[in-house]
């Protein structure tokens, strides 16, 4: 078994030069309907960036562009120094709807291992990596369970484990906690922060929940307008080791929260 305490198990190479992801004047249209306009942002390696915006702003469209599922109409996206023209090998995605993103005919461990099979990893190694990833998200002993035998929160953990076992340089998360109850949601938020701290992985998370965005991020990117532009990128200086109760009770948290809220409300009033 690989040593669980070493963050390097997932092959994350820390402190490489240059941003992991950069968007340069990126725009996107569905036909004549422009959704995203002139988006510019650099995401540093190991950073936790949340993208917030009112519903219908084009958050998911942006994420699909980042994931290489759609191509920008103009401008460019670079991931790990290379221009994105399709899904990058070093990028993993956690989708909102866990009940649809996992394969019901496969056990948890097989779900996690499938992308590794396609990547040509040996049977033994992919099984080991899948078990380590499941342990990382607190699912020891659930590896032989089918997704439908697990609760919603546990299913989303399997989806997160699948992303981790893929050993990506960055994880994209599309409203990953929107379909679970409040307590599970808080647990999954803390789990995601722990995993990020443990593995030093870059996380880009899309959400419509302002509290969640501020609580998780190093920076919050606020999308607004029609077509959507970057209203502001806000630094969140709340430090590491955040706590659902204590952090959210600080005046700094309240202030950041109001700032994001105002930006979003202003854009909604436009």
């Amino acid at each position: 078994m690989t040593d669980l305490s070493t963050p390097a198990i997932f092959g994350v190479t820390p402190a490489q030069a240059g941003p992991i992801l950069s968007l340069n004047g990126m725009s996107f249209s569905y036909g004549t309907n422009q959704v995203l306009s002139d988006i510019n942002v650099d995401v540093a390696r190991g950073e936790f960036l949340c993208i917030v915006g009112p519903s219908g702003t084009g958050k998911t469209t942006l994420l699909q562009n980042l994931a290489g599922l759609r191509s920008p109409t103009s401008g460019s996206i670079e991931f790990a120094g290379e221009r994105v023209t399709g899904p990058p090998a070093q990028l993993a995605v956690v989708f909102q709807d866990y009940s649809r993103s996992l394969l019901p005919w496969m056990t948890a461990v097989d779900n996690v291992a499938l992308p590794l099979k396609s990547a040509g990893v040996s049977r033994r190694e992919r099984h080991d990596r899948a078990l380590i990833a499941l342990a990382e998200v607190g699912l020891e002993g659930a590896d032989e369970k089918y997704p439908w035998q697990l609760s919603g929160g546990m299913q989303q953990r399997v989806a997160l484990a699948r992303a981790l076992a893929y050993e990506p340089a960055a994880i994209l998360m599309d409203e990953p906690f929107a379909s679970v109850d409040a307590q599970t949601r808080a647990d999954l938020e803390d789990l995601t922060l722990r995993v990020r701290d443990h593995l030093g992985i870059t996380v880009i998370l899309v959400t419509h929940d302002i509290d969640e965005a501020v609580y998780l991020s190093d920076r919050v990117l606020v999308l607004s307008g029609k077509p959507a532009t970057v209203a502001e990128i806000i630094d969140v200086d709340l430090g590491r080791g955040r706590d659902q109760i204590d952090t959210k009770a600080t005046p700094e948290f309240a202030e950041l929260r109001s700032r994001v809220y105002r930006l979003i409300r202003r854009s909604a009033a436009d």
Partner: protein, 268 residues
């Protein structure tokens, strides 16, 4: 409940519940056929005794049942292979499916029996014709169900496969095929019933050997009791094949039945 404590009592109730009608029907047939004086309707007792004699003692099983079984397995396996193969292809490639649709719609509405003279013209009266007929006619429900099954894939799953760069081979083997499997089995069950029917018909017209041939030949040579024994064997044959099919389905679709049971348990 009392039955929960005694599983054997529950099993017994279940057996009685499922078997009262067949048992009653058998008793009625036994009694009424025993009263029959018609040459064409022999008594059940005579038919059963003759069944034992012809099929088990005189080697009817090796002579006529085994060839039928081989033909059926070959034809049905071919139908499954073609149905699933083309079904996955047509289900995945939409433009191809819309192009082929008029052809498949026309071809599957032609009654199977109408193809018999053509099949005899091309393949003769031997096994090639029989297997081709079984395969071609029983392929349709499997093909159409597979197309639907593959199509029902969730858009989220497509995104998952794209972002995790799942290879073509793995998509086929681990995603599209299992996804379509419940519907493939539903189609195959219908296909199996059709292939037994086709088997009997083509054997009646083809070269000697097989249950269909036996029944027709017995009727033509006025061996009426023998003819009825062919029907008894056919009934047992079909029944056993269905059981085999269900065992296979339970193994392959284990996850599916467990998932459904779970969902029903949760909502109940």
């Amino acid at each position: 409940m009392k039955t929960r404590k005694r599983p054997w009592a529950r099993a017994l109730t279940e057996i009685i519940w499922f078997s009262w009608l067949p048992v009653a029907a058998f008793v009625l047939i036994w009694i009424f056929s025993g009263m029959s004086t018609s040459f064409y309707l022999p008594s059940a007792q005579v038919v059963l005794e003759q069944t034992w004699q012809v099929w088990f003692v005189e080697g009817g099983i090796a002579e006529n049942l085994v060839p039928s079984l081989i033909r059926l397995v070959a034809g049905f396996a071919l139908a499954v292979a073609l149905g699933v193969g083309f079904g996955v292809l047509l289900g995945l490639v939409r433009p191809l499916e819309s192009a082929v649709r008029p052809l498949t719609d026309a071809a599957r509405t032609i009654p199977g029996a109408a193809l018999l003279p053509i099949a005899i013209m091309f393949f003769g009266l031997g096994d090639a014709m029989k297997i081709a007929m079984i395969a071609f006619i029983s392929m349709w429900p499997i093909l159409l169900n597979t197309i639907e099954g593959v199509r029902s894939i969730d858009p989220t799953l497509r995104s998952v496969m794209a972002t995790f760069r799942i290879t073509r081979r793995d998509r086929f083997q681990h995603v599209f095929l299992p996804q379509a499997m419940p519907q493939v089995f539903a189609g195959a069950r219908i296909g199996l019933a059709i292939s037994i029917a086709v088997m009997v018909v083509v054997e009646m017209f083809g070269t000697p050997g097989g249950i269909g041939y036996f029944i027709r030949h017995a009727q033509q040579t006025f061996r009426v009791v023998d003819m009825w024994t062919g029907l008894v064997i056919l009934g047992i044959f079909g029944y056993l094949l269905n059981i085999l099919f269900r065992i296979l389905e339970r193994r392959v679709l284990h996850w599916y039945h467990a998932m459904i049971a779970q969902a029903q348990g949760a909502s109940a």
